[in-house]
Amino acid sequence: MVFDVFFLQQVINGLSIGCVYALMAIGFTLIFGVLNVVNFAHGEVYTIGAFVGLMVITAMAPPLLAVVPLVLAVGAVSGVGLERIAFRPFRRFTDEASQKSRAMREATLLSSLAVSIVTREIMMHIFGGDMQGIPSGYLLQQPVAIGPVMVASGSLVIFATSAVMLGALQFLLYRTQTGLGIRAVSNNQLGARYVGINTDRTIVTTFAVGSMLGATAGILVGLYDGAISPHMGFAPGVKAFVAMVMGGLSSIPGAVACALLLGVSESIATEFLSSGWKDLITYSLLVITLVFFPQGLFGHGRERA
């Protein structure tokens, strides 16, 4: 194996795809951190973001920067709706036994999966299963040469967005009252309730914020990819989930780091193996992490409720 410019290009390719995973993993991990349940519908929020973005673009042809606030709003609405349909009903019992019940947690896992399937099927009915093209003026696909390697403008936008999202979230979590509430609920929901935190509102806020990030990720990746479909959320959703588990479940910077690691590993592995094997790399890394670092690479080993 030669460490030439092609190899460097592979690393850059890997970082680009890793950024796509990271963009999705951020919202995913935020929601997991608060409720300790996997939100299977995150991929659909991502898809909704992409489709609403495309509809706005085709209907009104606004400047790209005007699309983003709209997609953020749609994301927030779908996050709140999702919480109301799939998660709130399972929190109506507030006694300690129910709060700690595993069965309750697993029930929400399935309800979010149900919402995800229903949403996807509805989108397939409305938009069809085919790929939808993005008008060319909005594509984030211009090649940009950085020295000898090439990146797409979309990779840079996605990288910058991931960095901004990560920074903004860290600020929200560690510098604001709302963030303190989120961290308290994340740490111990019952305890937070006892000290007077409005846990319901905190959870709704978390869903709104997480889904805003998810929807933005969807439209950006759509513009970068050049085509969107009702199934687009699934594959990056799985990778984001793996990144979250490797990163220690509730560590957002950990999930981002692992997402980049996954992308680069997949890309470099293509140099040695057929690319048909790249999922094997992802899951091998997951197994290795779980065997040798059961708390994840960036986990704090906190007590699980």
Binding site: D4, F6, Q9, Q10, N13, G14, S16, I17, D130, M131, G133, S136, Q141, Q142, P143, A145, M150, V151, A152, D225, G226, A227, H231, A235, E266, S267, T270, E271, S274, S275, G276, K278, D279
Partner: protein, 381 residues
């Protein structure tokens, strides 16, 4: 939709009346023999849109043939049966067709599975069968009574390989989708390309659903092949071409006919400019035979004929020409022999010849490239 059905019914009535009129005329002459071809296809259910196209195209061809006077002393008719894309139904139809002594040959069915279910019976009872679409390798291996006029990757791969070699390009990398079809496309191309003295620099598979080809592109570009050959469908093809452009890779693209779809250009835009592929049928082909068919079909059925209608149009044409060759006293045996002797049938899906031993079709495919945002026929290498 409703309008369409009403139109169809009206058309059916008109055609029926015309057929009745011609039938009346022939009985008057009394000497004319009536020869019947059975056509089995899905006319109801999930796949009925295909059967519908087959029937439409078959009607056009049949009328052309009977008007042409190629077969003196006999009239040919086609009897349609609805197989519902169901192997059980197809077997029942096979028995029904075999019991009708006027039927000397059968066209259909649509899918390979259903065609083969009926084909086993035709093979045992000695009835020539020609499928317009069954592409499974085992279909023509059933017996010497099975024919098809659709090409497979075992034909298309070497055809494209010849084209690339003729253009002076000696090395190729192949990117293929990891499924049965993709592997057959890979095998077809690689064996053809090597046989012509070409060199394969890499073969790379990807899983269905994959959207990111940057790592494959980077890996393949290192060996600087003269062309990249794509065995995939338009969704992946468009993504591949876009990412190739982003990475600044200039290696020309060739692909399988599966990429031939307006969607490829809609999704891929400028990035698919210059992509080459060969396909059996294109409504844009300036060939007068193609233009006559396209205009006639569009005028009658208010839609542009696609590959499936064209395949059926040619299947009927090949069958009828074989009937004409065998003469008014045609039998199932003599029709089979006439079919096997088909050479250079000038159809709308390219001139078709059957290999007398394997009964696999060889066609002159239309060579095309994407130019100025649409598929255009190219002449020469």
């Amino acid at each position: 939709m409703k309008k369409h059905a009403v139109f169809g019914a009206a058309l059916g009535a008109v055609v029926g009346a015309m057929l009745a009129a011609t039938a009346g005329a022939t009985t008057a002459q009394a000497a004319d023999r009536e020869i019947v071809i059975g056509y089995q296809a899905p006319l109801s259910g999930d796949r009925s849109q295909y059967g519908e196209m087959f029937r439409n195209a078959a009607q056009i061809k049949l009328e052309e043939f009977n008007a042409s006077g190629k077969l003196a002393g006999a009239k040919v008719a086609i009897t349609f049966e609805d197989s519902k894309d169901d192997p059980k139904e197809a077997r029942n139809i096979a028995h029904k067709f075999l019991d009708n002594s006027k039927i000397v040959g059968v066209i259909g069915d649509f899918s390979s599975t259903v065609s083969m279910a009926a084909g086993e019976i035709y093979a045992a009872e000695k009835m020539p069968q020609l499928s317009q679409t069954a592409s499974h390798p085992d279909f023509t291996k059933l017996s010497p009574w099975q024919f098809r006029n659709i090409t497979t990757q075992a034909f298309e791969g070497p055809y494209n390989a010849d084209w690339i070699i003729a253009a002076g390009k000696k090395t190729a990398a192949v990117i293929y989708i990891q499924n049965d079809w993709g592997i057959s496309a890979l095998d077809g191309f690689v064996s053809g390309f090597k046989a012509k003295g070409g060199k394969i620099t890499a073969t790379e598979a990807f899983n269905p659903g994959n959207r990111d080809f940057r790592s494959i592109l980077t890996k393949v570009a290192r060996q600087k092949p003269d062309v990249i050959y794509l065995a995939m469908f338009y969704e992946e093809g468009a993504a591949f071409a876009q990412q190739r452009e982003q990475l600044g890779i200039k290696i020309p693209l060739y692909g399988t006919s599966s990429l031939y779809s307006p969607k490829l250009i809609e999704l891929g835009r400028e990035s698919v400019e210059g992509l080459h592929l060969a396909t059996t049928f294109t409504p844009d082909n300036p060939d007068p035979a193609v233009q006559t068919f396209v205009k006639e079909y569009a005028a009658r059925f208010k839609s542009e004929p696609g590959m499936f209608a064209a395949q059926a149009y040619d299947a009927v044409g090949i069958m009828l020409d074989a009937v004409a060759k065998a003469g008014p006293s045609v039998t199932r045996e003599s029709l089979r022999d006439a079919l096997a002797a088909t050479t250079g049938y000038p159809g709308v899906t390219g001139a078709t010849s059957f290999d007398p031993v394997t009964r696999e079709p060889a066609k002159a495919l239309a060579k095309m490239m994407v130019k100025d945002g649409r598929f255009q026929v190219v002449t020469g290498p």
